[in-house]
Amino acid sequence: MNGELVLMNNERRTMDNQAKNVNLGDSKKMTVGLFIPCYVDQFYPNAGIATLQLLEKLGVDVHYPAGQTCCGQPMANSGFEHLTHGCNDLFIKNFSGYDYIVAPSGSCVLHVKDHLHSGQEEDKALSVRGKIYELIEFLTDVLKVENLEARFPHKVGLHQSCHGQRGLKLSQMTELVAPGFSKPGYLLNMVKDLELVPLDRMDECCGFGGTFCVAEEAVSVKMGKDRVEDHLKHGAEFITAADMSCLMHMEGILRRKKSGVKVMHIAEILNAG
């Protein structure tokens, strides 16, 4: 599995090697800037706390710059990328000093990777784009985690958040004729007593989609209901994902139907026990 992961990330090999040296006790210890996306900060602090604790447990020198807000994606995906300069400059100011930037959200990371620009400091913007990692890929590709001290004795359904999966390639996509792999699955399999449930549609979108969730309310909700139903049908007690936004949407649907099934960010499961 790890071999495949490495092959999938040829372009990052240089950085991986740097990280390896660091982990082997290089005198220059790497520093990681923790980016906690705005809605996680405001509504799901436990996902942020679990991310921080997990990285600390793994010996990472992790810092949370206090002046951070948002990656700018809510505006950009709505067609207002031209209004994101303020967010972009702030992001660069907060994070360009770190060796790596890690965030527990595939969607925000993908946005930064694809769309962060700067009027004055484009070289810094490019550097930030090259060193930002979603938490899961940071664990598998940079830290090369091979075991975790975690226990979570529950049936769990893994939701593949689209931007993490199709954007950052955290997992193979069912559309492609290519060998399968799953970075979140790889990590969840290290968690003691955790049982991953199968799904009928293993990588269909949940329908959150940023402002889509309110602009296209009917379709968004229907997509969410169908996703949730797939997990319930297969006996999941928890639905997890590498993106809290999908989970927030599905949680809203689960709670409305008074289901006992919970959502939980993958960092909380990897940090459990």
Partner: protein, 458 residues
């Protein structure tokens, strides 16, 4: 045709979603097609190589389009085909009509052509007193129902067999309540047989036109294009100028991809080559631009012209499956329609690029590797910049951008009841709030992560 409505995609989807069991049926029907596509694609190990090859051939075509068009025209003329050029839909329609007038023909038979849907040819000819019969079974059904197709490959996928039975009962005289597919299909065959035998002019679309030979290829599963073309005195073929491929040897790449992507078949039942008119027959090709040159000039969007109209992006699209083709109020629905339509009329179709979660599944199934979801994102930027976004949205986006540019404002907004996300809008628990209508709100925690961090780490 369905009455043109000014409702946007979201409003039309609201209506579509009033009948949830029907949405489930629509979703599952198209998901079944997507699964057939997956099985067919996984059946040939070189599938991804084929996609890449097709993409590169089409890139070459787009970069040399004018040369290939001139080459194609010269070869087609040498083959005895009459070639017409149409700058837009109106010109295309007038050319068709002038050919009918020349032959004093009032009735034609037409096989499936999305280009003629795009040009609204049936409506135009109807206004000139010409009767058009669509000979593709699905097209015939929606034509009888006076609706536009809801899908480019499966035009009546939104209709259940009982509803088709009712349409046939009203228009073709089948027994009331009859919905047996075999009986209905046989009825359509008999009806079309009479049509094929009596029409002197047949119109077809074009799937591929080969610059090297001046021939064109029409793909159908029903053989209806062949029946029309072979029985008529005049064959008119309408094609968008992007349908070209350089050489005949490239055709195999596309034929292998087309139906695997569309319906999960290895190849269309009929892939018919038309090169020279048979003795006594007249053969016309109408090369139609209708916005394609403009799209070719849009650097970010030009590769949408690689599309071979397989419909795979519709079948995989979780939004399309749950909103139906008519919610896109455009001849071409789904993700590909949403990136083609704004080029034709940015104001009318300003809603379509937003009818997506940007999940990216469309780009992954596209047999010619169009970056559909990236283009949806880029169209959103263009549409907003051109001033087609709602004012209220612009104001809230500016307020949001202002708040998020300042850590102090962000913290303040968060503290005053986690109302930062009010711009989303999450603020109130009532039915007016589109989030709350069918979903509970996130429960605000006692403190934000930032507040927790300050207490516990610094």
């Amino acid at each position: 045709m369905m009455e043109r409505t000014h409702k946007d995609h979201a409003q039309l989807s609201d209506v579509f979603n009033e009948d949830e069991p029907r949405v489930n049926w629509h979703d599952e029907t198209l998901w079944w097609v997507r699964q057939k596509r997956d099985r067919a694609a996984h059946g040939i190990p070189e599938f991804e190589l084929l996609r890449e090859t097709a993409s590169q051939i089409k890139n070459n075509v787009l970069s040399n389009l004018s040369d290939y068009l001139v080459q194609f025209e010269a070869n087609a003329l040498a083959n005895g085909i009459i070639v017409h050029w149409a700058a837009n839909a109106a010109e295309h329609n007038r050319i068709v009509h002038s050919i009918l007038e020349k032959h004093d023909v009032k009735r034609i038979v037409k096989s499936k052509s999305m280009l003629t849907e795009e040009c609204h040819l049936n409506e135009y000819l109807g206004g000139q007193g010409i009767s058009v019969v669509d000979s593709d079974l699905g097209e015939l059904i929606v034509q009888l129902a006076k609706e536009p197709p809801s899908h480019i490959v499966l035009p009546c996928i939104h209709k259940k067999k009982e509803e088709i039975g009712e349409i046939f009962h009203r228009h073709l005289g089948t027994e009331k309540g009859m919905s047996d597919p075999q009986v209905l299909t046989e009825t359509a065959r008999q009806h079309l047989r009479e049509t094929f035998l009596t029409r002197r002019i047949a119109l077809t679309g074009v799937n591929f036109a080969i610059a090297e030979t001046g021939e064109f290829v029409v793909c159908t599963n029903e053989g209806n294009a062949d029946m029309g073309a072979h029985l008529s005195d005049v064959h008119i073929a309408s094609m968008g100028i992007e349908k070209l491929i350089p050489k005949r040897k490239h055709l195999g790449v596309f034929l292998r991809l087309l139906t695997r992507s569309a319906t999960g078949q290895p190849v269309t039942t009929y892939s018919s080559h038309f090169k020279t008119p048979r003795k006594g027959q007249e053969m016309h090709i109408i090369l139609v631009d209708n916005g394609r040159s403009a799209q070719l000039g849009r650097k970010e969007f030009r590769n949408s012209l690689k599309c071979i109209r397989c419909g795979a992006c519709m079948n995989t699209c979780p939004v399309y499956r749950r909103s139906g083709g008519h919610s896109y109020h455009n001849a071409i629905a789904g993700p590909i329609g949403a990136i083609l339509a704004p080029n034709l009329d940015m104001k009318e179709y300003a809603d379509l690029p937003f009818a997506s979660t940007l999940c990216g599944s469309c780009s992954n199934v596209c047999p010619v590797k169009i970056d559909i979801h990236d283009q949806l994102y880029k169209w959103r930027q263009v549409i907003v910049q051109e001033g087609y976004a709602a004012t209220v949205k612009s104001v809230s986006m500016k307020a949001m951008a202002f708040t998020l540019s300042s850590p102090a404002l962000y913290r303040f907004a968060g503290k005053s009841g986690r109302l930062f996300l009010k711009y989303a809008p999450f603020a109130v628990s009532n039915q007016m709030n589109p989030w709350y209508k069918q979903r509970e709100m996130p429960e605000p925690p006692a403190e934000s992560f930032g507040e927790w961090y300050k207490k516990n780490r610094n």
